[in-house]
């Protein structure tokens, strides 16, 4: 059973517009959530995180929103840039990190 789900395998967004990546989870014991970005042939790179006691965390162009009642988190990137094209993984932690399947984001110039 997939405890962390990213239901969109891919997303295509115009440069300058907002990118919204979604993630759902099932385990209510998760209390820390992270987003990682991955380029080909590289390991995932930490992007932004949020604790379960918050509902929003912002870092520059990146904002993560957490809706605990819906067990849903999202990553907003605005404005989107071509360098944002990558695979994005959400991850949740109770003990170990549990990753979603990833969403491939493509930013079109």
């Amino acid at each position: 059973d997939q405890q962390v789900k990213q239901n969109s395998p891919s997303l295509s967004v115009q440069e300058g517009r907002i990118s919204i990546l979604n993630c759902d989870y099932t385990n209510s014991m998760f209390d820390y959530f992270l987003w990682y970005k991955k380029y080909p042939a590289e390991g995932p790179t930490f992007l932004i995180s949020i604790s379960s006691i918050k509902d929003k965390n912002e870092d520059g162009r990146f904002t993560v929103f957490l809706n605990k009642s819906a067990k849903h988190l999202s990553l907003h990137i605005v404005p989107s840039q071509p360098g944002d094209s990558a695979v994005y993984f959400c991850a949740a932690s109770a003990l170990e990190l549990v990753f979603g399947q990833g969403t491939r984001l493509t930013i079109n110039p």
């Binding site: 990213q6 390991g43 995932p44 930490f46 170990e96 990753f99 399947q101």
Partner: protein, 115 residues
Amino acid sequence: GAGVSQSPRYKVAKRGQDVALRCDPISGHVSLFWYQQALGQGPEFLTYFQNEAQLDKSGLPSDRFFAERPEGSVSTLKIQRTQQEDSAVYLCASSLEGTLFNEQFFGPGTRLTVL
């Protein structure tokens, strides 16, 4: 180097062969993690070390998988009698503190292909 390094980057093994994958974490990082990433999936937790102690190995898929970190720095993931289903990218990550909630820094991974 400044980041986590892994070697080899690519490994092709014949079914039944033993393999050893190496991870050099960031110097001074207490925690070290191994993950397995199958094609089209996210990384899946295998095992976790705090210094030289293996605190969690619940993610190791079978007793053919063995990990060690004898001096609390470099770690080796060994897979005995490899099977085709072991084909995946094996990622190593390290973090500064001894908790599971800190940012983990990932290496580039070792892509294992079992023929």
